[in-house]
């Protein structure tokens, strides 16, 4: 694996639903919690809108990790969009592993509008985990496999 430069910082794309996770991330801001700046957020109305190709596109464009975050199961603003996400994610995970993208690089999380601290913690954890893994080099993993 290529050795990352010293100042390398992972780039992580977060797809957050408008009603819970995005509000949770906003709450982390209003509460002035400090967390790693590596996660960049894309707002969608519901995690159910997230087409697996969005995640693949993120990795293809140079993301080192992707987080999908939505309402807790049962709390979806659209009743059950997040259940669809859950099902889709299982398939997506398999696809990612076949492509040589390590499981740590993709996370599905439930963050409610009141869980600002949880969002900050997830962002920190994810940044630390990806930093430990180094830059994404899926093509290398695929070749090795």
């Amino acid at each position: 694996m290529a050795v990352p430069p010293d100042n390398w910082e992972p780039r992580i794309v977060g797809f957050l639903c408008n009603w819970c996770a995005y509000q949770g991330a906003d709450l982390a801001g209003t509460s002035r919690m400090t967390y790693a700046p590596n996660v960049r957020i894309v707002r969608v109305m519901c995690t159910g809108r997230i087409d697996p190709t969005f995640v693949l596109k993120a990795f293809q464009s140079g993301a080192d990790g992707v987080i999908v975050a939505g309402c807790h199961p049962g709390d979806c603003h659209y009743t059950e969009g997040n259940y669809n996400t859950m099902r889709r994610t299982a398939l997506l995970r398999r696809l990612l592993s076949q492509m040589g993208i390590e499981p740590e690089r993709f996370r599905l999380e439930w963050v409610s509008a009141g869980e600002g601290a949880k969002w900050a913690q997830i962002a920190d954890e994810m940044a630390a985990a990806i930093k430990a893994k180094g830059p994404l080099a899926w093509w290398e993993n695929v070749r090795e496999a």
Binding site: Y22, Y35, M45, E115
Partner: protein
């Protein structure tokens, strides 16, 4: 960048970066960010400004739209949940479709949460916003009429006040209450702080007014079980439990309750007193119509044995054939006032609740003090008048094992209790065990002074236990409260005859179901979440639904009433406008691409998608669609398009979000 979709007019993007005073500019290098934005393709102008939401800030954008012919606007500022409506309005007023705006969030999700790296992240966010904005399309918003009626859920003081105010404005109100009577917790209280008004005396006229109001339809012993529709047009399903008493025939004479031979613990009196199997919870109940509790009614339990009430009711109002009913009502707005519960302090076993009969909760004390209570207002525990009483504050509040928050009312009602005890038993010793006295309201500090002047003893310290272990003769037969008197720095043992616990006010155990039913969020403490802590105190994430009173968090009666009236004002504003704009960001089916697989039909939570067997195509009813996009992501043919969240827009955003990443390897 390439030409826009229709190829006719050139894309002209204006980028505006807000300093938000120092909120953004203190962390993000706004000049650098502006220069960066200026370099992006299709960007005609990039500016930064101290406060874009201010009038001159808005004018700046409007002027550029008009003079430079901008057709896309990117405002990098606070969360779009804050100011998207503001800047959409700016676009509209300058002649641009409001959906041609995009707002990257560089405050809540950038400058406020990062110490280092905020500028770099802001650049990525702005770059993504520009790319997304490039593909934005104008959308048309539709308007629908608002049903001029309001549903109020919960008949405590909050629900009563809200219902009366809406009805006084001449609109129909449905007031739904789960219990047999309205009145809520407030009607259980004896006196109210700091004025010492008799709680029932000030509340019962309001309850009677609800009953008498021609525009209020009161449904007690009923629960909301379903909510469909959207702001302005809700369809609500209400389940009415059988009372086994015909409300239209009953005169409330009370003979049935007199004759009923079966008793149960009275919920209203916190189990300190008894009620019959057919009962009104308290004498001033509204409606003054009893219910039969099927668990304790022998006629119901043993199929026809007893029937005393049947025999004695002269009006023939007893009706054991009643069954559960479901009614549907249509309303334009909903006010949720479902209240709170007191925590059960037996969870903190060291404080002795349920182990010693003379350890009681604050609500039990209210009932003991009340003239309508089980002792007729005589303060008696264990058959004796207590000569010394300990009042323990913060039981389960300000404690991360139970509830981190302060319950806000205990300090004041603790003082009220001291006063009431002193009033009833002149030579009683009263000890207030507190951590901090929080007497912040109007007349509160004065009341604190008054209690102190009446000889109440204040001990600053959280007691560790209530025990019956006596170390000396003086403690024998007493309860001993141990704590550190933190102002002295010494452990104290205080022998008393009675202990009153002030348990935390907590979200009701079914708050989660309520949140789900009305599609609301809960804050971390379990209470229902308002839209904005300061500026939208009663609105929620679900338009047209408002939350008031203790369902939103612990508060005292004046604050509850203020919120109730705020909720009424919100509902009235919505109804009086008469029309409401619907979400334009809905989905539609690209018929040419639809393969007719019907996957989308089953997925739609709003039944907005129908399948035409003749055309072999799916159709989306845009009045029902809420734009969640589940069908869009699921469509195997990619035939469904989510307006304002198109694949093209999102993919462009993702790609540009990673503008600073090393080029994706061409290895594959």
């Amino acid at each position: 960048m390439a030409e826009s979709e229709n190829g006719s007019d050139e894309v002209k993007i204006g980028v505006y970066i807000c300093h938000c005073g120092s909120n953004i500019a203190g962390t993000v290098d706004v000049e650098d960010l502006t220069a960066f934005a200026q370099e992006q393709g299709a960007v005609v102008v990039a500016r930064n400004y101290k406060f874009l939401c201010s009038e001159p800030g808005q004018a700046l954008i409007a002027k550029d739209i008009e003079e430079l012919g901008l057709n896309r606007v990117v405002v990098a500022a606070c969360s779009p949940r804050m100011h998207e409506p503001t800047f959409r309005h700016v676009c509209q007023s300058a002649g641009l479709n409001p959906y041609q705006l995009h707002m990257p969030n560089i405050r809540e999700q950038c400058s406020w949460v990062h110490k280092n790296g905020a500028t770099g992240k802001a650049k990525a966010l702005v770059s993504a916003a520009i790319s997304r904005a490039y593909y934005l399309e104008p959308l048309e918003r539709r308007e629908v009429l608002v049903t001029p009626a309001v549903l109020v859920v919960g008949g405590g003081i909050a629900g009563i006040q809200a219902a009366l105010k809406v009805a006084d404005a001449g609109h129909k109100v449905y007031l739904v209450e789960r219990e047999p009577s309205i009145g809520g917790h407030m009607i259980q209280l004896d006196k109210t702080f700091p004025t010492l008004d008799c709680s029932a005396c000030i509340l019962t006229p309001r309850m009677a007014a609800v009953k008498a109001h021609p525009d209020i339809e009161l449904m007690t012993y009923s629960e909301v079980v379903g909510v469909q529709g959207f702001v302005g047009n809700f369809r609500v399903t209400i389940r009415r439990k059988p009372r086994y008493v015909d409300e239209s025939l009953c005169t409330g004479c009370g003979i049935c309750q007199e004759k009923c031979p079966w008793t149960a613990d009275s919920e209203f009196d916190c189990g300190l007193g008894q009620r019959k199997a057919i009962y009104t919870p308290f004498p001033q109940a509204v409606p003054n119509v009893p219910v039969i509790d099927p668990e304790h009614c022998v006629y119901i339990q043993k199929e026809g044995k007893c029937g005393a009430c049947l025999k004695f009711c002269e009006r023939g109002a007893i009706d054991f054939k009643q069954t559960e009913e479901t009614v549907e009502v249509e309303v334009g707005a909903i006010i949720v006032a479902t209240g709170y519960d007191l925590m059960d302090p037996s969870a903190i076993s060291r404080l002795g609740y349920k182990r010693f009969p003379n350890v009681i909760t604050s609500m039990e004390f209210e009932r003991l003090c009340s003239a309508t209570g089980p002792t007729g207002g005589h303060l008696v525990v264990n058959g004796k008048e207590p000569k010394s009483v300990a009042i323990i504050h913060c039981v389960g509040s300000r404690d991360q094992k139970y509830h981190t928050y302060c319950s806000r009312v205990c300090c004041m009602y603790g003082l009220k209790f001291s006063h009431l005890i002193k009033e009833k038993i002149e030579d009683a010793q009263v000890y207030e065990f507190y951590i901090d006295m929080r007497c912040y309201g109007k007349g509160f500090e004065e009341f604190y002074q008054r209690a102190a002047s009446e000889g109440v003893t204040f001990i600053r310290g959280r007691p560790s236990q209530v025990t019956d272990f006596a170390l000396n003769e003086g403690e024998k037969g007493k309860l001993v409260v141990t704590c550190e008197n933190t102002l002295v720095g010494a452990v104290m043992r205080v022998p008393v005859d009675m202990v009153i616990l002030c348990p935390a006010m907590e979200a009701r155990p079914d708050a989660k179901e309520v949140a789900r039913l009305f599609n609301l969020s809960q804050s971390a403490d379990g209470f229902l979440l308002e839209k904005h802590a300061k500026l939208e105190p009663v609105a929620t994430a679900n338009d047209g639904i408002f939350v008031v009173g203790c369902a939103q968090g612990p508060k005292d009666i004046p604050d509850t009433v203020a919120q109730a009236l705020a909720g009424a004002a919100e509902a009235l504003a919505l109804i009086d406008r008469g029309r409401v704009e619907l979400e334009a960001a809905t989905a539609f089916v690209n018929e040419a691409a639809c393969s007719g697989c019907k996957v989308c039909v089953t997925l739609c939570p709003y039944s907005a998608i129908t399948f035409s067997e003749t055309e072999k195509l799916s159709h989306i009813n845009e009045a029902l669609c809420k734009g969640c996009g589940v069908c869009v992501a699921a469509c195997p043919a990619g035939a469904i398009v989510a307006r304002h969240f198109t694949d093209q827009q999102i993919l462009a955003e993702v790609e540009a979000l990673l503008v600073d990443a090393r080029p994706a390897t061409a290895a594959i």
